[in-house]
Symmetry: C2
Subunit: 356 residues, 2 copies
C-alpha cells in the first residue's frame, strides 16, 4: 500500500511538472542595447519587449535588458549575440559594415525607400529573405526594431548656396552619407556624440548631422547653428533586434510566437512614438528659437550628392555581390512603390498645402 501511495504521489507530481515544462517553462535571457536606457524612444523598444514577453508568459519568460553602460560594447552587439553572451541585442545594422558592408542597406540608403516603402520592401519585396542572407552566417536572426523616419540633413552654421560651399567644410556625418560628402570635398570628421556640441560651438566643425528633431533637441545644436537642412541621406533608418538562433530554437513554440509578436508590436509603437517625438520637439525648437531656418540643398548640390551616391553604391556593389543584390532589390521596389506614394500621401499634402 505504501508503494502504491508513493507511486500515486510520484505520478501526480510528474503530471504537474509536465504541465509546467511544456506550457510554462521558465526561461531567462539577457539583451544588450547599443544605447543607454535614457535614449527614448529608441531604448523604449527592447524594454517594452521585455515587459510584454513577461506579461504574456505569466512571468515565465524573463528578458533582462542591459544598456551600453553595463556591457561597455555599444558597437559589439553582433559579436556578443553571435557568441551567445547575450541571447538578444538591440542595435543599428550599419554599425557592422566592417563585418559585412551589406548590413548598411538594411538600416537605410541615401535617396532610398521612405518608411512605408521600406516596410513594404521588407515584408513583400524580398527584404526579409535578404536580411536572413546577411545575418545567417553569424547564427543570428534579425528583426526590425523601429524607425526614425526621415532624418534631417544636419545643422549648419552657414548657408550652403552652391557646391563650392562644401569645399573644406568640416562636418560630422557618419555612414554612407559621409563617404558621399567626402567625395564632394567635405572634410568629414567622426567626433563622438558627447563632444559634438562643444565642437560645433567652438568651430572645430562647421556642421553636424545627427538624427531629426526628436533626438536632435537633446543635443542642443539648434542653439548655435541656425540652418537646419532637410534630408536626403537616411530617409527611413531602421533599428534592429538580433536573436541568437540556437537560443531561439530552444524556446517552446508558444514563447517563439510571443517573442516575435512582442518585437513587432514594440516596433510599431516606436514608429508612432518617434513620429510624435519629432512633432513635439520641432514645435518646441521653433517656438524657443524662431530664427531656425529650414533649408533644402540647392539643386546643383543635390544632383552632385546623387551622382556621388551612385559612385559609392557602384564601388560596394563591385566588392560585395550581396550588397549589390540588396540595393537592386530595394531599387526595384522603390520604382513601383514611389509611383503610389506620389499620387497618395505626397499628393494629399500638396493638395492640403494649396488650401492654406
Amino acid at each position: 500500500m505504501k508503494k502504491l501511495l508513493k507511486t500515486i504521489l510520484l505520478l501526480s507530481t510528474t503530471m504537474l511538472l509536465t504541465v509546467h515544462a511544456s506550457e510554462n517553462k521558465t526561461v531567462k535571457w539577457k539583451l544588450a542595447m547599443s544605447w543607454p536606457k535614457s535614449l527614448t524612444p529608441i531604448s523604449t523598444v527592447p524594454l517594452r519587449v521585455s515587459s510584454l514577453v513577461k506579461e504574456m508568459t505569466n512571468g515565465k519568460f524573463i528578458i533582462k535588458v542591459h544598456g551600453k553602460n553595463t556591457h561597455k560594447a555599444p558597437l559589439g552587439i553582433l559579436d556578443m549575440v553571435k557568441n551567445n553572451i547575450y541571447e538578444m541585442g538591440n542595435t543599428s545594422s550599419y554599425y557592422y559594415k566592417g563585418q559585412d558592408i551589406a548590413t548598411t542597406l538594411l538600416t537605410t540608403a541615401p535617396f532610398g525607400l521612405n518608411n512605408a516603402e521600406q516596410y513594404g520592401w521588407y515584408y513583400y519585396g524580398g527584404g526579409e529573405e535578404l536580411t536572413k542572407k546577411v545575418y545567417d552566417k553569424f547564427g543570428i536572426d534579425s528583426y526590425p526594431a523601429g524607425n526614425t523616419g526621415v532624418q534631417m540633413g544636419g545643422w549648419f552654421k552657414k548657408e550652403i548656396k552652391n557646391l563650392n560651399d562644401l569645399q573644406g567644410l568640416k562636418m560630422r556625418i557618419p555612414g554612407l552619407a559621409g563617404e558621399v560628402l567626402s567625395k564632394l570635398g567635405v572634410n568629414v570628421t567622426n567626433i563622438p556624440a558627447g563632444e559634438l556640441y562643444t565642437a560645433l560651438d567652438r568651430g572645430t566643425i562647421d556642421a553636424a548631422e545627427f538624427v531629426n528633431p526628436g533626438l536632435d533637441i537633446k543635443m542642443g545644436f539648434h542653439k548655435i547653428a541656425p540652418y537646419y537642412y532637410t534630408g536626403w541621406q537616411e530617409p527611413a533608418a531602421e533599428m534592429h533586434f538580433f536573436v541568437n538562433q540556437k537560443a531561439f530554437n530552444k524556446l517552446p513554440q508558444t514563447y517563439k510566437t510571443i517573442l516575435k509578436v512582442a518585437m513587432k508590436v514594440a516596433t510599431s509603437e516606436m514608429n508612432t512614438a518617434y513620429f510624435n517625438a519629432n512633432v513635439e520637439a520641432w514645435k518646441q525648437m521653433k517656438t524657443e528659437f524662431p530664427n531656425i531656418k529650414i533649408k533644402t540643398f540647392p539643386d546643383e548640390v543635390l544632383i552632385a550628392m546623387k551622382k556621388s551616391t551612385d559612385e559609392v553604391i557602384a564601388k560596394y556593389s563591385k566588392d560585395s555581390p550581396l550588397f549589390k543584390e540588396i540595393y537592386k532589390s530595394q531599387q526595384n521596389y522603390l520604382k513601383k512603390a514611389r509611383e503610389w506614394t506620389k499620387i497618395s500621401e505626397y499628393k494629399y499634402i500638396t493638395t492640403s498645402n494649396s488650401l492654406k
Copy 2:
C-alpha cells in the same frame, strides 16, 4: 487507507486543475466582421488576431471569426457586440453615425490627418481617450484595426474642369464626403457595392468613389472610367475592433494582454499589407490600362470642397459636443504634426522628384 488514497488523488487533481484555471483557462469567443472573408487585406486582420491569440495561449483562447455571410448584419456589428451576441467585432466606426455622429471622425475626416499623423493623434494627442468617450456608452472598447492610407477621389467618366462640372453629376460617394459634395450640386447616390460596376458602365452614375487601387482593382472601374482623381476626403481611413467590455473583463490578465497585443500587431501588419496591395494594384492597372489619367481637382473645386467641409463640420459640431471636441482635438494635433510632415516625408519626396 482507501480514504487517504482518495484524498491524495483528489488533491493532486485539484492542483492540476488549479494550474489550468489560473494560467490556461479555456475561453471561446466569436467575432463578427462587416465584410466577407475574401475582402483581404482588411479581413486578414481579425483572422490573424484569431490565429495569434490561439498560438500564444497554446490553443486555450479560441476566437471564431464570422464573415458577413454568416451573420447577415454587416452594419449591425455595434449592436451585436453591445449585446454580447458576439464578444468581438471588426468593422468601420463611421457605419454607426446613426447611433453617434462622433463615430465618423474616428475613421477619418475630409482634409484631416494622414496615416502617421492620425496614429500620433490617437496615441499621443488624446485620440484614445476620446474614442473611449464615444464607445463607453455602448459597453464597448474600440481599438484600431488597420488603415487604408490615402483614399483616391474616385473614378470619373469625364474630366472635372471647374465647379460647374459638378452640377447634377451623379456620383456614388458615401459618408461625410457625400454630404460635402451634395452641397456643391452633386447628385449623391448610394448604390450597393455589388451593383456599382454596372451602374457606372450603363451611365446610371457618372462617377464612383470606392477606396484606392488595392480594393478598387477588384471592382474594375478603371476599365470604364479613365479619370482617377487624387484624394481629399479620406486621408487615412482606420478600421476598428469592438470588444464587449464585460466579456473582456472576465479574461485572465495574461489573455487580456495577449488579445491587445495581437490586435496591435495585426493592425500594423495590415498597414504594410495594404500599402503593398496599393503598390501592386496601381502598377497592374496602369500597365493594363495605360489610358488611365491621374487628375487632381482644380483649385476652385478644392477650395469649394474645403468650404463645404467646414460647413458640414460646423453643423455636426453644433448638434454634438463630442463631435466638436474630437474635431478640435484632431485639428490641434494636425496643426503641429503637419509642420513636421512638410519638412520630413513631404520634402523628401519633393527632393527625390527633382532628381528624376
